[in-house]
């Protein structure tokens, strides 16, 4: 007899029994209505599972432990900000990296705040008490993340004017509409369990490591411990969310209901594409803004998405009928080009931006050529012209995808994937097959969408540049945008680091 293992088994059994006491043992069979009728019909999920009792939260958290763990993480993050403030870290950071924070924080803060609402659908309407409880912890996590993002914005607002205007930027700035449209789509699922697929599976199992591991590693390598700690504090929750998504997906698939499978597959196909488009912006941080580079967007995608998610996690579900996401081929063909297309685009429109861009340095170019052998063929000529004195900007409103809100720049100018659909007599433009497919699946959800370009043309947003800047939350003179390397801040920093 191994006493040690007996004690361990007994302890685990006690934990499990205690967990049952606070989850499924709290349920009862209602008499007034059937169980299916407990929730209003509008909120009932189409996912039907006969045996939700088989759902087992891998983390089995109790509130006491949850609060204790989160309090420790909060302390570390708030200490990181206090230390950065006390020792003036922001004043010593490379201005290139500061531009990444200007861009990033206004784009994600609202999203974290709203993520808790869509997840409340699962916490509220799940027929599994254990799943509802785990989802409720996730609701609290998302609120914590948003408050930490606001705290980081408060910290940055001492050094960066745009950090004070983040709410207007999120609402109106052209570049942020990419993420706003994604997050609004996530907030308005057609089914409570769609949130499980878009957040826990497509985002957290699939893409989250790009933003919360690869990007903070780049931040730490460039001296920004506030960003590194902010992201890592979030990531430790994401790990629990991934496990939740994986366990719930398994219970649903093992039920063997073909209608469930069809729904899950459609949601996985849609949200994998949506997340790929949205999370491509992490490539700006890793491939461009970081002067001390760690891994490229492509390397991070291959490590975390292909090997970690598709080969590591999703292959487990293939025997249960779930196939890899529909637009994998398109994702793979864009991973070599997407970060470069977006950074070039940001530079072409830098006169209406709240963050600055710059031509890659010789050191950047050597690294980019090594990581992306076709970099010169794709954007080399453009940056050569910029270096030769051409400002490289485009005067005109870009065609913006009516689904993802990226200007239609994908995948390359030689092989543009401009697509269109007609719905109720109006033509909608898309940047890709993926965005067109998503729209065509649910046109009634998206048909009222109007891009900034369309608002300007309709006279609902100003057409002249100074007024348009103010509408988007920028000063009329455009002083927040432009080429970083032409600014006094850059020259001073560069001189002091020769």
């Amino acid at each position: 007899m191994n006493l040690h293992w007996d004690v361990q088994e007994a302890t685990l059994r006690n934990l499990y029994e205690n967990y049952q006491l606070t989850t499924s043992d709290l349920e009862w069979e209602p008499d007034y209505v059937a169980r299916d009728e407990v929730h209003h019909a509008a909120y009932q999920t189409r996912i039907k599972v006969k045996n939700w009792a088989s759902f087992d939260d891998p983390f089995k958290l109790f509130f006491q432990e949850y609060v204790k763990i989160q309090a420790e993480k909060e302390k570390v993050f708030h200490d990181a900000i206090r230390l950065a403030e006390r020792f003036g870290q922001a004043k010593r950071l490379n201005p290139r990296w500061i531009e990444s924070q200007k861009f990033y924080l206004p784009a994600v803060t609202n999203a974290e705040a709203e993520a808790h609402r869509s997840h409340m659908g699962i916490a509220r309407y799940s027929q599994s008490s254990a799943l509802a409880m785990a989802s409720f912890y996730q609701v609290l996590d998302e609120l914590r993340h948003s408050q930490n993002d606001v705290h980081a914005l408060r910290y940055w607002s001492k050094y960066v004017d745009s950090a004070r205007n983040w709410a207007v930027l999120f609402q109106h700035h052209w570049a942020v509409q990419v993420l706003r449209s994604l997050f609004e789509d996530m907030m308005t699922p057609q089914d409570p369990f769609e949130s499980l697929v878009h957040t826990n599976v497509a985002l957290e199992m699939g893409m989250t490591n790009l933003l919360f591991v690869a990007a903070p590693i780049a931040g730490a390598a460039n001296g920004d411990t506030v960003f590194a700690q902010l992201q890592m504090s979030t990531q430790t929750d994401e790990t629990r969310h991934m496990a939740l998504g994986q366990a719930a997906l398994r219970v649903i698939l093992e039920d063997g209901n073909e209608e469930n499978l069809a729904l899950l597959q459609r949601w996985l196909d849609k949200w994998s594409w949506r997340m790929f488009r949205g999370f491509a912006v992490t490539g700006l941080l890793t491939d461009y803004y970081a002067e001390n580079k760690t891994s490229s967007f492509k390397e991070a995608y291959e490590r975390y998405y292909i090997h970690g998610f598709l080969e590591g996690l999703m292959e487990d579900f293939e025997p249960l009928g779930l196939k890899p996401p529909r637009f994998m081929k398109e994702m793979e063909s864009e991973v070599d080009t997407i970060s470069h297309q977006i950074f070039k685009l940001a530079h072409q429109y830098n006169y209406i931006n709240y963050f600055r861009t710059f031509p890659p340095t010789e050191q950047d170019k050597a690294w980019l050529r090594e990581k992306y052998p076709d970099w010169d063929a794709l954007v080399g000529d453009y940056w050569a012209k910029v270096e030769a004195g051409d400002p490289g900007i485009v005067q005109g409103l870009p065609m913006v995808c009516n689904l993802c809100h990226f200007p239609a720049v994908f995948p390359t100018p030689e092989k543009p994937t401009l697509r269109s659909s007609i719905y109720q007599g109006r033509t909608y433009h898309f940047c890709s097959d993926g965005c067109k497919w998503v729209f065509d699946q649910e046109p009634e959800k998206y048909y009222k969408d109007r891009t900034l370009t369309e608002l300007v043309i309709a006279g609902e947003a100003p057409g002249d540049i100074p007024a348009l800047r103010e509408y988007m939350g920028l000063p009329a003179d455009g002083s927040w945008g432009g080429d970083l390397f032409q600014t006094d801040d850059w020259k001073a920093w560069s001189d002091s680091h020769q």
């Binding site: 297309q341 685009l345 485009v394 005067q395 005109g396 409103l397 870009p398 065609m399 913006v400 200007p407 239609a408 720049v409 994908f410 390359t412 100018p413 030689e414 543009p416 401009l418 269109s420 109006r426 033509t427 433009h429 940047c431 370009t453 369309e454 043309i457």
Partner: protein, 73 residues
């Protein structure tokens, strides 16, 4: 609503023109927006070259939301 794309470049940009706009005028606007010499430019609509500057865009069947292409010789 019309957009014009410079061949070899993305994204297309909004072309402030209507189906009744003359081709010559549309070429001039497009060239100016893309920073090109109008004398060296022509517009394409799919496989069709809009070759007559005195005709309207509508004469070439361009009436709705379309993407034209600007070609520089």
């Amino acid at each position: 609503m019309l957009y014009v794309r410079l061949i070899g470049e993305l994204p297309p940009i909004f072309l402030p023109a209507a189906p009744s706009t003359l081709v010559g005028e549309a070429v001039g606007i497009s060239a100016q927006m893309w920073g090109k010499d109008p004398a060296r430019c022509s517009l394409r609509y799919g496989e069709m070259i809009l070759g007559d500057p005195a005709r309207t865009l509508a004469d070439y069947g361009i009436t709705g939301v379309e993407v034209l292409e600007l070609e520089v010789r």
